[in-house]
């Protein structure tokens, strides 16, 4: 019997890189879940970003909530060029051994009747939060890009895609 929740692909960086892309994603699942453990290179001060299908246009939007030492915060943006997978503008950790976890859910990613809504949660050294993003396209998602706007993901950062198949 085919697995309902199965790994599709994974990348562990052997050297720093600005971008990790998963291509040729099968449309046979219902949802895609990306589990990431990331750290930025020294001097970076950036968030984990995503785009799909090579779309770099202003076809995205997002809303986030996060908790930091100062309290709870929320923000949003319309007509942006990215999916926000980490709440707010707080940095991916840069410490020697500190990697931050993120779970990014591309819901109904291959549904050609709906826009795509992406739900994510993450945590860093000093914050935790969640975000929801919209990609205004009814196209099936066939590629997912994770990137950092300035600097790089550090060696040891991991990105794993899982497919979930509904009955």
């Amino acid at each position: 019997m085919a697995a309902t929740y199965e790994p599709i692909a994974t990348t562990t960086l052997g050297s720093s890189a600005n971008t990790v892309t998963f291509s040729s994603i099968s449309g046979s699942y219902t949802d895609i879940v990306a589990v990431c453990s990331v750290k930025a290179t020294t001097g970076s001060d950036e968030v984990l970003r995503s785009q799909v299908n090579g779309d770099t246009g202003s076809n995205y939007s997002y809303t986030y909530v996060q908790g930091v030492s100062a309290g709870a915060q929320s923000g949003r943006a319309s007509n942006t060029s990215l999916i926000l997978t980490q709440a707010g503008n707080l940095a991916i950790p840069e410490g020697a051994s500190t990697f931050a976890p993120y779970v990014v859910q591309y819901m109904n990613y291959s549904n050609t009747n709906t826009f795509k809504t992406i739900l994510s949660r993450g945590a860093g050294v000093n914050q935790a939060g969640a975000s929801v993003s919209l990609w205004r396209s009814t196209s099936a998602i066939t590629s997912i890009r994770f990137y950092i706007a300035a600097g790089n993901f550090d060696t040891g950062s991991t990105f794993t895609l899982y497919g979930i198949k509904a009955a």
Partner: protein
């Protein structure tokens, strides 16, 4: 020079995992909408349940409504709820005791951006335990590329030690039906 990494795909030789996460049932709403979604006769053989859904209502709501759930046809005041949420303009929290259902998902209104759906992932832990009250955890949200965005951490409690055998999902009052293409998928997780 820092380059880009193209992730490799698993090819032949990688064995799929055995089935500890199973699809139990899926409901996809057809044309005309549907007022309630019910999962019944749920087997007790799993350890936990998860519901994953995309949600849009039929009511002429410009922003969003709430999806609620009840267990085992219990609609009495045997539930309580809490939420932490962000709407973009503010972050806040709420809690209500002695409610008749549990908030579990954000439902995009039908006067909101076309083709946009709210999404939710609902976890029901130890659903078959007969020695514990039941606790629900949901992560949900919707964004419509306008002023109507919301993301929520939700929790709920059902004060019953009965094993959960049925789950009923409804749109909150004022938005009678789930719209076409809304979908709820129920999964069982084994230990």
């Amino acid at each position: 020079m820092i380059g880009n990494i193209a992730a490799g795909l698993y090819g032949v030789g990688v064995t799929p995992s055995t089935s500890s996460y199973e699809s139990i049932a899926t409901v996809t709403v057809g044309a005309g909408g549907q007022s309630t979604i019910s999962f019944t006769s749920i087997s007790s053989t799993y350890k936990h349940l998860q519901i994953r859904g995309i949600l849009r209502g039929t009511g002429s709501v410009a922003d969003y409504n709430t999806t609620t759930l009840t267990f085992n046809s219990d609609t009495a005041a045997n539930y309580s709820i809490h939420g932490l949420q962000g709407t973009g303009s503010s972050a806040g929290a709420y809690g209500t005791a002695n409610t008749s259902n549990i908030d579990c998902g954000t439902l995009t209104g039908n006067s909101n951006t076309a083709n946009a759906f709210g999404v939710t992932v609902i976890d029901i832990l130890d659903y078959a335990s007969t020695s514990k009250y039941k606790t629900v955890r949901s992560l949900t949200g919707q964004d419509s590329n306008n002023t109507y965005g919301i993301v929520q951490f939700l929790s709920g409690s059902w004060r019953s030690t009965s094993a959960i055998t049925s789950i009923t999902l409804k749109a909150s009052s004022g938005t009678p039906n789930f719209n076409q293409y809304s979908q709820f998928a129920l999964y069982g997780i084994k230990d």
